[in-house]
Every structure is written in structure tokens, then in C-alpha cells.
């Protein structure tokens, strides 16, 4: 279940299909990526997708972070959802990688999430979010 969503558009009602199913057919507008799926396979179809769900079966498996960035770097603007073993202390990193909705398996405390997202106000790297990296603030 989507517990946190940082977008204002309508939630996609269509259930997401697997990458293989999507590539085999289809006119689906929602797709689900497993950790070992190649996010780049979706690049030709990004403009007709409204939801990409990235699975985190274990929080330790960080492949989904790269999947998210690759999709955002390719210009995807639809909903990018992290689903699965998503913990409060990962949400800030996930936001920076371009995720804008979260469906954690174990429910998270909204206050703790808000706190995690406001802990840092400076960032060293340019990533997939709007944050301006420290080096740019230093040099304009």
C-alpha cells in the first residue's frame, strides 16, 4: 500500500506488470522492476508509463537506487515508487535518487519519515532531486 506520496497527480489505478510481461505486449502503463531487471529496457517507453514500481525485497539490496536514477536521468517524470523492505532511514536517499512514492511492507511512522527527510539541508552530490550540491553553492 502506498503510504507516502510526494506528487499531486492522480494515483494510477492499473496494476503493474512485470518487465517481461510489459516488453512482451503491452499497453500497460504501470510496470514493476525487480532488482535484477535492467531499468534501461524501459527507456524507449517512458512517455507512456505513469507508474514504475521498484521492488526492494531486502533493504540491503541497493540496486533499486541505480534503477531509479537511470529512469530519472532518461527523463521519466511519472510516479516512481519504492516498494518492499523500505525503512525510514532510507527514504531520504531514495528521494534523492528520484523516488516520489513509497509502499513499505512494514508501516512507517509519518513523523519519523518527516524527520528523516528534514535532517539534512546540504548535499555534496548532484543527484536526481532538485537539491543544489554544495560545490555549486560554493562556486555559483
Amino acid at each position: 500500500m502506498v503510504e507516502f506520496r510526494y506528487r499531486t497527480d492522480e494515483v494510477t489505478e492499473q496494476p503493474s506488470v512485470t518487465l517481461d510481461a510489459f516488453l512482451d505486449q503491452s499497453n500497460a502503463t504501470a510496470v514493476r522492476l525487480e532488482p535484477d531487471d535492467d531499468a534501461r529496457a524501459l527507456i524507449p517507453f517512458l512517455d507512456r508509463l505513469t507508474l514504475i514500481e521498484v521492488a526492494f525485497p531486502k533493504y540491503r539490496d541497493g540496486r533499486g537506487y541505480s534503477s531509479a536514477r537511470i529512469l530519472r536521468e532518461a527523463g521519466y517524470t511519472g510516479e516512481l515508487r519504492a516498494q518492499g523492505d523500505v525503512l525510514v532511514d532510507q527514504i531520504a536517499f531514495m528521494r534523492r535518487c528520484g523516488f516520489d512514492s513509497f509502499a513499505p511492507e512494514a508501516s512507517l511512522n509519518p513523523e519519523a519519515v518527516a524527520r528523516a527527510l528534514s535532517t539534512y539541508d546540504q548535499f555534496y552530490q548532484k543527484a536526481a532531486d532538485a537539491a543544489v550540491p554544495v560545490w555549486k553553492l560554493r562556486h555559483g
Binding site: P35, Y59, R60, D61, G62, R63, Y65, S66, R69, E73, L87, D89, Q90, A92, F93, M94, R96, C97, R115, A116, T119, Y120, D121, Q122, F123, Y124, Q125, K126, A127, P133, V134, W135, K136, L137, R138, H139
Partner: protein, 542 residues
């Protein structure tokens, strides 16, 4: 030395607040130990055999006297009056209380220090050459590049849940004092047509499958560096193995797909990443470099008075040439005979801080061999420095000799260890306590690990010792022929293992074979490489 601006400080301060919150949630029982584990590990806090161990980062091994004194203060206030300097140029405290941890980090933050990413499957502290800025053979100071990488890697959102930990070393000399090619990524700064860039090596490491990193790119320009490294990491994050913790380091990926295929994938990723504008302008590297400008050297080039023989021995063994006439590099051995390699008391840490302030332009370095360096000491002050060190029992003249042993904490502290390392190091050092004998043996790098994870760098030892558990009994395997220097090589197991006393005897026999067979000024490892294992094996097992 790099100084934080308000951006750097705000990030470290935020980290302290965040960690305090995490610890409070743990103490209140809101999160389980299982949930707390990844959080504390990302902040260098390990649960060891007897207590929590905290690893504090010393970026590229460089610190000033104020920071060094803080390390002493922490040892005194939060630990048992000592700290342990590690092979990754960090310091570890072995007896930390969870409830005090956030206070400790808050104190560290007041001197621009932290424990960020000193553990966990993320990019760890960037290591470098302890002689940076002082070595005559460097093409540039590697530390600005290391600082650039420190900032880029700190809380990197994409690379905080890598398949496994990730270690980067940066050097800038043909002589490798940082075991650069035994890192996940090793960078060697080089000049090409006057322009500074980095040779990039990827996929080295020790552990249970030691590998020497192959060169992946002969020259990456300064303003492409972060894009290129980002590409290296992204390929690893996506394709590194996650099915088996022992095969998850990048060395296994590079080995399995081959250096050529890895290079091709990185080049393809780099072509894309380079379009994203993630590289800071060169002005940022220049801003950082300004902090590492050479100090105001002004001492006359006078040779020290060598009439005290003990002082002369120390000069010959522990003092190295400096690029600036009139100056020298002082190595402070943390390997007293019978002591614990890398340990220093609060009082000793304070003495080293005082010496840095008074005689060393306020700079200290930690070495991967677990010693301390005063990089810039005027030759006229060497005698005074030596006297002060001797007072503090820090004047052992054994740099790079057989008693200058690298040893992991082993089964005395570590929850992963199979065998004790410290007592073996103590016994070997004691066996060879006679300084004339040690000096006669010359450079002999002996390294001891208490388990196959190889934190004690045994693969890179001219003589390596690996402690294993054999049916409940500690057993020690010997390897010969390793090196972490520019002549990098992986040691080979010589035969069946030994018990604790047996391995000390075997080491002694090996040194006798070397003395008989050496030619000219060959080091132990040169003789071993020339004659091979047989004569050693015969003497040890025959």
C-alpha cells in the same frame, strides 16, 4: 590541512543529531537490534566480543594537533585511556557505551571529525600516502583529490547499499606507500603533457580472495574524475554479486567478467554520466588544494649531530628524506617490543599532538602500517623531537623492520576472528628484540591476520601469518612473498600451519635461510623471489 566551511560543518552536525535520534530509538526499544544494526554500522559502531567498538574516520590519514588531542580526550573520557590506529588510517575505540556514543560524536564534530561511513556496505574513508605533501617523488599532493572524493562519497544516495564495502586509495608517487592496488579502487595521480590526471585501478583487495587491481583507465582528467568513479560504482552497484557475501566485492565482478569487459561497461556508463553535470568545476579542486599549500619552510639545511648512537639509529631507521631541504619526515613507531601494534595511550597521543604543534607545522598522519608520521620536521629539531618521543616510549627505531608488525585486533577483540593476532605479534617482536639483529635483517614486512578477512594484510606481507581455527585450536599459516608496495604481489602459503610458538620458530628459521642466501643488499622478499620457496621449506619443515 582542509578546513570545514559551514556546509561541511552542517552536514557533520546533522549526522550527529540523526545518530542521537537513532540511538535514542534503540534504547527506548522503538527499533530492534536488527533494525539498528545497519544504522549503527553506517556510523562505524560495531558490536564486538566484549563491548561496542567505534571507528572514527581520519580522512586520508591527515590530522592536526587539535584533532589529535581530541582523540586522546575521547580515549580518556569514553574509553580505557587508549586508542587503536588501524590499517585504514582510522582510529578505533574498543570499550564504548552506546548511551555515550552521540555525546562522543558531538565532541568529535567540534574538531571537524566524524565516524561517517567507517563501516557498512558503502564507500569507506578514503586513504592516501602518509608522506603526501612531503615526499620528494610525488607529482602532486594527492590529498585534495582524496578530499574531493570524501565529499562526493559522503551520504552518496545511490551508493550507500552496495553489494559490499568499498575502499578507495589515492597516491601520487611511483612508490606506493598506501597499498593502492589492493583497494577496490586505486588512483595514482600522474601527469600527461603537463596536465594532472588519475590512473584508475579497479578490483583489488585482500580478504579470502586476494587480487591485485588491474588498470582500467590510464588517464582520467581532473574534471572527469567524479563522473568516471560514479560510472565505476554504478556498474558495480548494478552487477556486483549479491548472492554470496564472500563474492560480493568488486574484485570478483571485475575478475568474473574480465577487466576488458568491465572497462567497456564503465566507458559506456561514463559517456552517459558525463552528460549529467555531476562534476564540480575545477575551481572546487583548486579551492580544496589551497588548504594543502606547503607550509612556510624556512629552516636552514643543517645535518643533525649523530654523536648519540641511539639517536643515530633512530635517524637512520625512522627518519625519511623530505622534498624540502632542511626538513625531514619523522615516523613514530607504535610497535614497541611486546606491545600491541597500533595502540597508543591518551598521554602518548597528546605527546604526538604537542610535537606536531611545536615542531611539525601542526600536522600528523596515520599510516596504513599503524604508525604515526610527523611529515614536516626541521632537521635542526630532530634531536629534540626524538628526546620527547623517547620520554613517551615512542622512539622505537624499527620502521619497516621485522618488529614493525601490522596486526588486526584478532580474537582478543573481534567477533569475526578465528585466532588471536596480538600475542603472536608480541612473541615475534620479543624474539627479535635485539635491534642489531633486526637491522641486520633489514626491511621485512610481517603482517598478521586473525581470520581470513585479512584485516591484518597478511597477503601483502613479505612474511604473512593467517590465524585459522582448526578443530577448536588456533593454527597459524605462513605465507611468503606478498607486498603492498609498488612491487605488489600476493603471498603464497608455504605448507602446513603451526601452533603459536611453532609459527614464531618458523619465522626465525626463515630469517636464517635469508641471511645465508642473500646476495648484496637484497631484502628478504628479493631473496625469496630469486631463490623460491624450496630452501625455506626445507629449513622449516625438513
Amino acid at each position: 590541512m582542509y578546513k570545514y566551511d559551514h556546509f561541511d560543518q552542517s552536514i557533520v552536525d546533522a549526522r550527529v543529531a540523526e545518530f542521537r535520534d537513532q540511538v535514542n530509538r534503540r534504547i527506548a526499544g522503538e527499533i530492534t537490534e536488527d533494525q539498528f544494526k545497519p544504522l549503527r554500522l553506517m556510523n562505524g559502531l560495531y558490536l564486538q566480543l566484549h563491548a561496542y567498538m567505534l571507528r572514527v574516520a581520519i580522512p586520508y590519514g591527515t590530522l592536526d594537533s587539535r584533532q589529535m588531542r581530541m582523540l586522546a580526550h575521547i580515549a580518556r573520557k569514553y574509553d580505557r585511556d587508549y586508542g587503536h590506529f588501524t590499517t585504514r588510517q582510522n582510529i578505533q575505540y574498543n570499550w564504548i557505551k552506546l548511551e555515550e556514543c552521540a555525546d562522543l560524536l558531538e565532541e568529535l564534530a567540534t574538531v571537524e571529525m566524524h565516524a561517517i561511513q567507517t563501516s557498512g556496505n558503502c564507500i569507506r574513508n578514503i586513504s592516501s600516502d602518509q608522506y603526501a605533501g612531503a615526499a620528494a617523488d610525488e607529482v602532486a599532493d594527492p590529498r585534495p583529490w582524496a578530499e574531493l572524493l570524501r565529499q562526493w562519497s559522503t551520504f552518496h544516495p545511490e551508493f550507500s547499499y552496495l553489494p559490499r564495502k568499498f575502499k578507495i586509495a589515492v597516491i601520487a608517487s611511483p612508490e606506493d606507500r598506501a597499498a593502492m592496488r589492493l583497494h577496490d579502487i586505486g588512483l595514482e595521480l600522474v601527469r600527461q603533457n603537463g596536465e594532472l590526471g588519475a590512473r584508475v585501478f579497479v578490483g583489488g583487495g585482500m580478504g579470502r580472495t586476494p587480487m591485485i587491481a588491474p588498470e582500467i583507465n590510464p588517464f582520467v582528467k581532473a574534471d572527469d574524475l567524479l563522473s568516471y568513479i560514479e560510472a565505476c560504482l554504478r556498474v558495480y552497484n548494478r552487477y556486483g554479486r549479491r548472492d554470496n557475501i564472500y563474492k560480493a566485492r568488486i574484485k570478483i565482478l571485475v575478475h568474473e567478467i574480465g577487466a576488458d569487459e568491465y572497462r567497456r561497461q564503465v566507458a559506456e556508463e561514463f559517456a552517459h554520466v558525463k552528460t549529467l553535470g555531476i562534476d564540480p568545476p575545477l575551481a572546487e579542486l583548486e579551492r580544496i588544494s589551497a588548504f594543502f599549500a606547503p607550509p612556510a619552510f624556512d629552516a636552514a639545511d643543517v645535518e643533525p649531530d649523530r654523536s648519540d648512537p641511539d639517536f643515530a639509529v633512530w635517524l637512520d631507521q625512522n627518519v625519511k628524506p623530505h622534498k624540502q631541504a632542511g626538513y625531514a619526515i619523522v615516523n613514530i613507531s607504535l610497535k614497541p617490543i611486546g606491545g600491541i601494534p597500533g595502540d597508543a595511550t591518551s598521554a602518548q597521543i597528546d605527546v604526538m599532538a604537542d610535537l606536531a604543534e611545536q615542531y611539525g607545522f601542526d600536522e600528523l598522519r596515520v599510516t596504513h602500517a599503524q604508525n604515526i608520521v610527523l611529515p614536516h620536521v626541521a632537521k635542526r629539531d630532530l634531536h629534540a623531537v626524538w628526546q620527547a618521543l623517547r620520554e613517551a616510549e615512542l622512539a622505537d627505531a624499527n620502521l619497516d623492520l621485522i618488529s614493525d608488525i601490522i596486526a588486526c585486533p584478532g580474537l582478543d577483540y573481534c567477533s569475526l576472528a578465528n585466532a588471536r593476532s596480538i600475542p603472536v605479534a608480541q612473541k615475534i617482536a620479543t624474539r627479535f628484540a635485539d635491534m642489531d639483529r633486526q637491522r641486520d635483517l633489514g626491511e621485512l614486512k610481517l603482517k598478521i591476520s586473525g581470520c581470513i578477512n585479512a584485516c591484518g594484510h597478511h597477503h601483502a606481507g613479505h612474511i604473512g601469518i593467517l590465524g585459522v581455527d582448526r578443530k577448536g585450536v588456533e593454527n597459524y599459516q605462513l605465507t611468503f612473498g606478498g607486498s603492498g608496495a609498488e612491487d605488489v604481489s600476493i603471498g603464497k602459503i608455504i605448507g602446513p600451519g603451526f601452533d603459536e610458538d611453532g609459527v614464531v620458530d618458523a619465522v626465525e628459521k626463515a630469517t636464517e635461510v635469508y641471511k645465508t642466501l642473500r646476495e648484496g643488499d637484497e631484502r628478504f622478499i628479493d631473496t625469496y623471489r630469486r631463490v623460491g620457496l624450496e630452501p625455506f621449506k626445507e629449513a622449516i619443515y625438513g
